[in-house]
Amino acid sequence: MEAQYWWIIGGVLFVLLNTAAGLIWLERRMLALWQDRYGPNRAGPFGILIVLADTLKLFFKEDWIPPFADKVVFVFAPAVVVASVLMAFAVVPFGPGIVVADMNIGVLFFLAMSSLGVYSIVLGGWASNNKYALLGAMRGASQMISYEVFMGLALMGPVILSGTFNLSGIVEAQRGMWYIFPQLLGFVIFFIAGIAETHRLPFDIPEAESELVAGFHSEYSGMKFGMFFIGEYLGITLISSMIVTLYFGGWLGPAFLPGVIWFVLKTFVFIMVFILLRASMPRPRYDQLMEYGWKVLFPLSLLNLLGTAAVKLFIDK
């Protein structure tokens, strides 16, 4: 039992970090494919060794801490993003029994960790002591706090339907029907909020390289920037796997493949959707984003919650 447990932790960490690194390559290749280009194709077969080259480059770049920065917080901030996302992965069930911590409050733990992720942006932006970084941090903080609300409300749909906060329980409860069908609205809201939470491209307002240089991580270089970078890809993987767990039946699937494979395949599809979004969407203005969140998604998610609860009560009676 003990040994198996450590194997799971090690395996999850290994797979996740490699996935995040591989996603850097994958995203560049896929973006190139969708924009009629090739992307990195020189180093190794299909350019996959570009990952190695990127990593080496990040390691050997000068790890500069600006003299005007708040040093402790500056160093601390990039670690938060990776740590919080990896912590959140602890509750994701990758397959039957393959989960690091099968908590009875898995959904809440995921929400808590994603809300702690805000700190990396806020602290990174503040500690850089730079106008653009501060602007990025402000945008990031308000965007992520707002979208967390809808994310939490949308998450309550599957929780109501399955009657448990445990993610494995939620997956098991989807044996009859995936929750995408009764919870289509919730899925859409969760997906949009997930993009905003990971500040991926349509909603990458905290970074907004065309207005804010690089937003909250303007002053970061070397592996500290690499942490933000990896954290973003880990975030994509996290949101994709949560979507799969909550709405697409997790590891459930036809029996000719083991559950883990199904989980990975489904997650991969959503990672692809994330990349496709980056390839096709323009960035909304900051106030448009907030207005869209509070005036459209918020009422919709409340309605979704109300409707789900009412239907559930009606059926149970």
């Binding site: 402790v72 009875n104 409050i105 929400l111 602290l123 503040w126």
Partner: protein, 175 residues
């Protein structure tokens, strides 16, 4: 269980001490966060996982972020920390500390008294929290809801502004 509790409690106490002794307000807030995280761990260990998660989501994840958000915009530099240092004379902090020590002594006295309740941990799951919130504490929940509603309406009223035209080219464009 015991070791984890003592570690978490020690972290909570230490970080709280750090909160009140920091001159830089941002560092103080960060230590406050650590203190809240360790309190969440204590909650989790003693059978209130729901409370622990809410502590993380609401306090650490939302309220503290908002406070940091405001502090961030105040642009407090090193000279503010210096001012803070000059205000913190022994005469200021000795009074509260003595009172706190008295409280601590009382707490220790109560703790060393023979315990009259069983030490076993009863896990409070979300269902029970929900039942008690919408059962015996219905009135409090409703009152809190009213208060929040008033806050939202007030915020909307304060945030409402006349339509500003930024540029003459935008005069006829919607919004």
């Amino acid at each position: 269980m015991g070791t984890a509790f003592y570690i978490a409690a020690a972290v909570a106490v230490l970080s709280t001490i750090m909160v009140i002794t920091r001159y830089n307000i941002m560092h103080a807030l960060l230590y406050f966060n650590v203190s809240m995280l360790s309190v969440a761990v204590v909650f989790y260990l003693y059978g209130a996982p729901f409370m622990a998660a809410l502590e993380l989501i609401v306090y650490a994840g939302a309220i503290m972020v908002l406070i940091i958000f405001f502090v961030m915009m105040l642009n407090l530099g090193s000279q503010t920390a210096g001012e803070e240092r000059s205000w913190m004379t022994p005469g200021v902090w000795i009074g509260p500390s003595v009172l706190c020590l008295v409280l601590l002594a009382e707490l220790v006295y109560l703790m060393v008294q023979p315990a009259d309740t069983g030490a076993e941990i009863k896990v409070v799951d979300p269902k029970e929290v929900g039942k008690s919130l919408f059962g015996p504490y219905m009135l409090a929940v409703e009152l809190a809801g009213m208060l929040l509603m008033a806050g939202i309406v007030g915020a909307y009223h304060l945030g409402r502004q006349k339509k500003k035209i930024v540029h003459r080219f935008l005069e006829n464009s919607p919004s």
